[in-house]
């Protein structure tokens, strides 16, 4: 795969002179914004010396493991391996790789994450699932070149890995065609952060190479970053794939080439640095594919099957929210109750608030009662939590327990007057106009109502209350 473009010596000399003149002038004017850094300029200078003698393009590099594949758009270089994910699945506590329907349900519930609004999820059930991950030069913009595209097709517990490499940036159309061939017939795509990175980056390259965006637009896509964030953000923080592997899959990579080194290594490889420069990147891409596939299985087991231990209160709470969004209220309520009993802060309090809200919405009179007692105990525990106090005051007012509501109001007013202003200003859910004003208004309204009610005959009040409670 060596193509050398030799140019007439005179023309080459003239071009070299032009380039040298321009370079000198640019340097004098202070250099361009995008000019290479000192280190890179040094490497470039060495290479320049090498190619100056003749204006010859460096030979196309080769990479062991990759074989030529002819496509209508030119030659693509493809590496094929099958990886048995069985041991990894065992370590992660999952049985088998996730099916398309289940994976898509992970993202379709929230709406915000699902690209397939209205698409019948069940229709994808028996389709093949392809995991996608790209290595690219740069992170943003339409000019970002994807130089290595990895596709892993799930078969039982095996991942059929196809990696397509760009040996010559001029042959991009061939790479993209080879990628399209492999995506054909896959029911769903699975990625990690593909929604905002891999898929738009590839899509941009399809457009630039006039291949349209038929390969990607509208294809059901499950970006695992969304569900991982929703379900495990308390544990993982930044939620990188690397953290998810360690925390959720119980695996750690050995001798991995970090992703940020990939562009530099690829450039070096293009300039003839040899196969070892790129070998690490190819392996990194393969590991990403495997980890993404196993992670999908792990998430499905967590959501649809038994939770994989050790389970933290935070996991239950997050899963409860996820299920609630999907409409699985019964399981969700059970998980909330479990979280409350686990008594691990701050999730127990948050679960209790959530539970109280749910009970008040649809729990009938008993629910109302239980919600009140939940809110009461939350308030007793932490009277300085003004949001909690507000929830209690509202619930008490609805239940016509005005005396108690007024007491909550008074205490909260005193508390927030004693608090330094910055504390309640920074509190989440602060009302417009600030907490102190809100509590004063609420207190005044409640007291007025208390006075009005006091004038009414007692019987009527009891009657009203029982009507309200649906008795």
């Amino acid at each position: 795969m060596t193509v050398a473009v030799s140019i007439d010596d005179n023309a080459a000399a003239a071009r070299l002179a032009t380039v040298a003149g321009l370079r000198e002038k640019l340097a004098r004017l202070g250099g361009l914004g995008g000019a290479p850094s000192a280190a890179r300029a040094g490497a470039a200078a060495a290479l320049r010396a090498e190619h100056r003698a003749r204006f010859v393009a460096p030979p196309l590099p080769a990479q062991p493991g990759f074989e030529a594949e002819e496509t209508p758009a030119g030659t693509a270089w493809v590496r094929r391996v099958d990886v048995d994910l069985g041991p990894l699945l065992d370590a992660a506590g999952a049985q088998t790789l996730g099916a398309a329907a289940g994976l898509l349900r992970l993202v379709s519930a929230g709406g915000a994450y699902g690209p397939l609004a209205g698409e019948p999820v069940a229709s994808c059930d028996h389709g093949r699932v392809a995991v996608l991950d790209i290595e690219s030069l740069g992170l943003r913009g339409s000019g970002v070149l994807a130089f290595l595209v990895g596709i892993g097709v799930q078969q039982g517990t095996t991942l059929e890995v196809h990696q397509v490499l760009l040996a010559d940036p001029g042959d991009e159309a061939a790479l993209l065609t080879a990628v399209l061939d492999r995506l054909e017939g896959c029911a769903a795509l699975v990625t990690y952060n593909g929604r905002s990175f891999d898929v738009p980056a590839l899509r941009a390259r399809f457009i630039v190479n006039r291949l349209g965006d038929r390969g990607l637009e509208g294809r059901p896509h499950c970006d695992l970053l969304g569900p991982v964030r929703r379900l495990f953000r308390d544990r993982l923080g930044a939620c990188t794939l690397r953290q998810a592997e360690i925390e959720l899959l119980g695996m750690e990579r050995v001798d991995d080439v970090p992703g940020f080194e990939a562009p530099g290594r690829y450039r070096a490889w293009l300039r003839g640095a040899g196969p070892e420069a790129l070998a690490g990147v190819v392996r990194h891409n393969e590991l990403d594919l495997c980890a993404t596939a196993v992670l999908g299985a792990r998430l499905l087991t967590h959501v649809d099957g038994d939770m994989v231990g050790p389970v933290h209160a935070a996991d239950r709470f997050r899963l409860a929210l996820h299920l609630e969004r999907r409409g699985e209220t019964v399981r969700s309520e059970g998980l909330l109750r479990d979280t409350v009993t686990a008594e691990a802060g701050p999730w127990d309090r948050r679960a209790a608030f959530r539970l109280a809200a749910r009970l008040r919405r649809g729990g009938g009179p008993e629910g109302e009662e239980e919600a009140l007692s939940l809110l009461r105990s939350l308030w007793r525990e932490e009277p300085a939590d003004l949001r909690g106090a507000r929830a209690l005051a509202i619930a008490l007012e609805r239940a016509r327990l005005l005396d108690e509501a007024v007491a909550v109001c008074r205490r909260s007013t005193r508390l927030c007057e004693a608090m330094p202003a910055w504390r309640h200003e920074r509190m989440r859910g602060a009302p417009d106009g600030g907490w102190p004003a809100d509590w004063r208004r609420r207190g005044e309204r409640l007291e007025a109502r208390q006075r009005r009610e006091a004038k009414r005959p007692r019987g009527a009040r009891v009657q009203m209350q029982s009507v309200l409670l649906g008795a």
Partner: protein, 834 residues
């Protein structure tokens, strides 16, 4: 969109009693004006001229316009729209408020009515203008069937809206900066726009001069390159205020033949222009009463007579000084309520500015003091009087600013108050220069190597370059080979592919001032402050240093920061004085607190010039002219404390900020020691400074450019003498390119490598472009050196002072005749360069 044409009952009927005219007549006779009005010009009223209705326009548009009270089109509108519908690129050149925007609004709406998929892209130099235009476009579209989706797309657009604009915006209104970093590099997200683009509108074309224009030309090259890729070929409609060479500028910016429409058909009431020269305070030194103090008297009087007035000051600090004076004379009715007179300049927060603009439109603001920020077409309605404190620098700006006053039915007044700067005095003595002279030419150089190279990288990122492909009109094979060597692009298969992991557009700032700004933070925690929290980039941040609840009150660009907010400066913001505790140059923050003192501060800068390479010359024997590349080092050295009202200097102090370098092209004249042997050293010194002043003035007139675009420097022992042919041996040429500059575009930290000092030098005067790489002023001066020198001679001869004053050659020390010395040097140059 001030194009509403109410056809008058009888355009020739005498005007009804005009209260403004009466007030002006009275004012003219009052002692306030005695001996100050050097010249009064009266521009007569013009009747409207109507052009034919372009039949090709969609009929629904005629109805929509009728609903808004517009029955017919003026001649320029009709001509421009006709040409645009015929597929011609057009530049419309008419004065402020003549209904230019209809010239593009109608074709754009026409295209949309005929094809709902049609898109158009509007470019305005600032965000505020963009928002104004969307509002007035929607105003017409309301009367049309269907719903037009027009939206601004800029830094303020929320992320949720961006997606919708990208997919479905019929009219996308943005600024060149956003197009450059936010749209072009992400073109695959804008496929529909680029595929269906029918019109590109470039309004305020005259704003794109110099370096900004050179950048815009390259941004347009990138835009049109993408359009070709996506298969569209948009028609370009440009609008410009009056400049000398609109067609040439448009042609250079757009790189296509452009039809120029400049036959203005809009009506106008009578306008009076007063040339106001403050009285002499010291005749021998040529010192006149301060223009700011004169403006204070005049503006206060105009506002008192209930004439809505706008005053334009030259700098941000003089805006604040004048505003302080005026607010004392017209105080606000109650504390906390804004008074009738407001300030307006960059650095005010957007909300504040919107409120002032609205106040001007509804008449609650009676006077405003502004920098040229209000010169562009921001909608503030038309006012009764415009007062220019000092020459704004260009004929075009002068007319733009004067044009802010001018109602349809009553007389309006424009006043030009001359300062004692040379150019101002020249102009007030020769009013015909302003009145008869064509406005200046906009010069741009799209092929400035720095600008071109930077945009070429961005373009290569957007789409791979074919071998032999041109970038606009520029031949770029050499540069691409250069990038290939540096590893920025990969050359294979006959194409250059971007292969660096940088995002090149981000490294380019389209405006000199748009680099990182210095944020000004009020460290006092006064709870009764104006109460606007951090906005824009600092929204949600507490600002300030750790432990302080600082409030961001504004910002200044890096170039101005050492001058305005150096340590110990008095920074004035909305008439309020702040003392600068510390300028943190690394963090780009200035910490200030409110203070009440009776002085303000003025910073002094000093320059030095090193010649790097000679492109032409030296020609001439006794005095040699040359042109070439130089490095200008600027350092802000000290500041003066100046007492308010009396303007006397009451103290000074040092400023320590790093030196800044500018690489640019220069034209210089160097004298042999023999040629000046008959003069004493002090005479040569004063003469050189005089030459610099006179040549600067002459070159601005010759190149038709803003005085700030050309810098001057005079040196007794310059390194560019006639004997040292070629570039001096210096380590400059072999220093490898380094990281992007830390300062303003083109300015960077000086290199440590020491230059050989000028051991023996020649008396030299330099004129240089104040833009990195230059935009062609020095070349023009070099070409037309003879003309330049004769204009300089006229300036020196024409002054009435005794021995040199700020209006001609600058004040000379006791016992030296500055004018004679300068005249001598001019003559030597004229003789040897004949």
């Amino acid at each position: 969109m001030a194009a509403t044409l109410h056809v008058p009952d009888n355009p020739l009927a005498p005007a009804r009693a005009d209260p403004v005219a009466a007030a002006l007549d009275e004012l003219r006779r009052s002692p306030l004006c005695a001996g100050r009005i050097a010249h009064e010009a009266i521009l007569p009223a013009l009747p409207p001229r109507i052009g034919p209705w372009p039949e090709a326009l969609h009929p629904a548009l005629r109805e929509a316009l009728r609903a808004r009270g517009v029955e017919q089109l003026y001649t320029h509108q009709s001509e421009a729209i006709g040409a645009v519908l015929g597929g011609q690129d057009v530049v419309v050149v008419t004065p402020t408020a003549s209904g230019k925007s209809l010239c593009y609004t109608l074709p754009v709406l026409d295209a949309w009515l005929r094809d709902p998929e049609a898109r158009s892209l509007w470019l305005f130099p600032t965000k505020a203008l963009a928002q104004d235009q969307v509002a007035s476009l929607q105003d017409i579209a309301r009367h049309l069937p269907g719903s037009l989706r027009a939206a601004t797309y800029d830094g303020d657009t929320p992320p949720g809206v961006r997606q919708a604009v990208r997919h479905a915006g019929h009219v996308v209104v943005t600024n060149p900066d956003m197009l450059h970093t936010g749209m072009l590099p992400h073109h695959t997200s804008w496929v529909r726009l680029f595929q269906q683009l029918r019109y590109v509108v470039v309004d305020e074309l005259h704003a794109y001069r110099g370096v900004f224009g050179s950048h815009l030309a390259n941004v347009l090259r990138r835009l049109l390159r993408l359009c070709r890729f996506y298969g569209s070929n948009p028609v370009i409609i440009a609008c410009s205020a009056t400049i000398g060479n609109p067609a040439e500028l448009a042609g250079r910016l757009l790189e296509r033949p452009v039809r120029c429409v400049d036959d203005n058909g809009a009506p106008r009431a009578e306008r009076r222009i007063w040339f106001w020269n403050p009285p002499l305070v010291d005749r021998a030194l040529g010192v006149r009463r301060s223009a700011t103090l004169e403006a204070r008297r005049l503006v206060a009087e105009l506002v008192r007579r209930d004439l809505q007035t706008i005053a334009f000051a030259r700098s941000r600090s003089s805006v604040e000084v004048l505003l302080t004076y005026l607010q004392r004379l017209h105080p606000s009715p109650a504390p906390g309520v804004p008074g009738p007179i407001r300030g307006y300049r960059s650095g005010y927060l957007p909300l504040q500015r919107r409120a002032i603009e609205a106040g001007l439109r509804d008449g609650s603001v009676r006077g405003v003091v502004s920098t040229n920020a209000l010169e562009l077409g921001i909608d503030i309605g038309n006012l009764d009087a415009a007062v220019l404190v000092g020459y704004p620098g260009t004929v075009a700006s002068t007319w733009q600013q004067l044009g802010r006053a001018g109602r349809r039915d009553t007389t309006s007044l424009g006043v030009f108050i001359a300062t004692d700067s040379p150019l101002d005095q020249f102009l007030v003595r020769h009013p015909e220069y302003l009145l008869d002279q064509p406005a200046e030419h906009g010069l741009v150089d799209p092929d400035n190597l720095l600008v071109l190279g930077a945009h070429l990288q961005a373009a290569a990122f957007e789409l791979a370059f074919e071998e032999g492909e041109r970038f606009g009109a520029a031949e770029v094979g050499g540069l691409l080979d250069c990038f290939a060597e540096d590893g920025l692009v990969h050359h294979s298969g006959g194409r250059y592919h971007w292969s660096a992991d940088a995002f090149p557009a981000e490294a380019i700032s389209l405006r000199r001032a748009a680099a990182t700004n210095v944020v000004i933070i009020d460290t006092s925690t006064s709870p009764d402050g104006p109460g606007q929290g951090p906005q824009g980039a600092w929204a949600g941040s507490a600002g300030g240093r750790a432990g302080s609840h600082g409030r961001v009150i504004g910002e200044v660009d890096q170039f101005a920061a050492p001058v305005l907010v150096h340590d110990d400066a008095i920074y004035i913001h909305e008439g309020r004085q702040y003392h600068v505790e510390r300028l943190d140059w690394e963090e780009k923050r200035a910490y200030v607190h409110p203070i009440d003192v009776d002085h303000y501060t003025l910073a002094k800068t000093s320059h030095s010039v090193a010649v790097l390479e000679r492109y032409a010359g030296p020609d001439g024997d006794m005095c040699a002219r040359s042109m070439g590349e130089v490095r200008v080092s600027r350092v802000v050295t000290m500041y003066k404390k100046v007492r308010l009202l009396t303007h006397e200097t009451i103290g000074d102090g040092p400023i320590t900020v790093p030196e800044q370098d500018l690489h640019t092209t220069a034209f210089w004249l160097a004298y042999t020691p023999e040629s000046v042997a008959s003069m004493v050293r002090a005479e040569v010194e004063v003469g050189l400074l005089g030459m610099a002043a006179a040549l600067h003035q002459a070159s601005c007139l010759l190149c038709m450019c803003d005085p700030r675009d050309i810098g001057t420097h005079a040196e007794l022992r310059g390194a560019g003498g006639p004997a040292s042919r070629g570039a001096p041996e210096s380590p400059i040429a072999v220093v490898p390119p380094r990281e992007p500059d830390e300062y303003v575009a083109g300015f960077r930290r000086p290199r440590n490598a020491a230059l050989p000092g000028p051991l023996s030098g020649y008396p030299t005067v330099y004129l240089y472009d104040s833009v990195p790489g230059g935009v062609g002023f020095a070349e023009r001066c070099h070409e037309r050196c003879t003309e330049l020198l004769s204009t300089a001679a006229r300036i020196v001869d024409g002054c009435e002072c005794a021995s040199g004053c700020p209006s001609c050659t600058g004040p000379a020390p006791e016992g030296v005749d500055g004018r004679a010395a300068t005249r001598m040097l001019v003559d030597i140059a004229r003789v040897s360069l004949r």
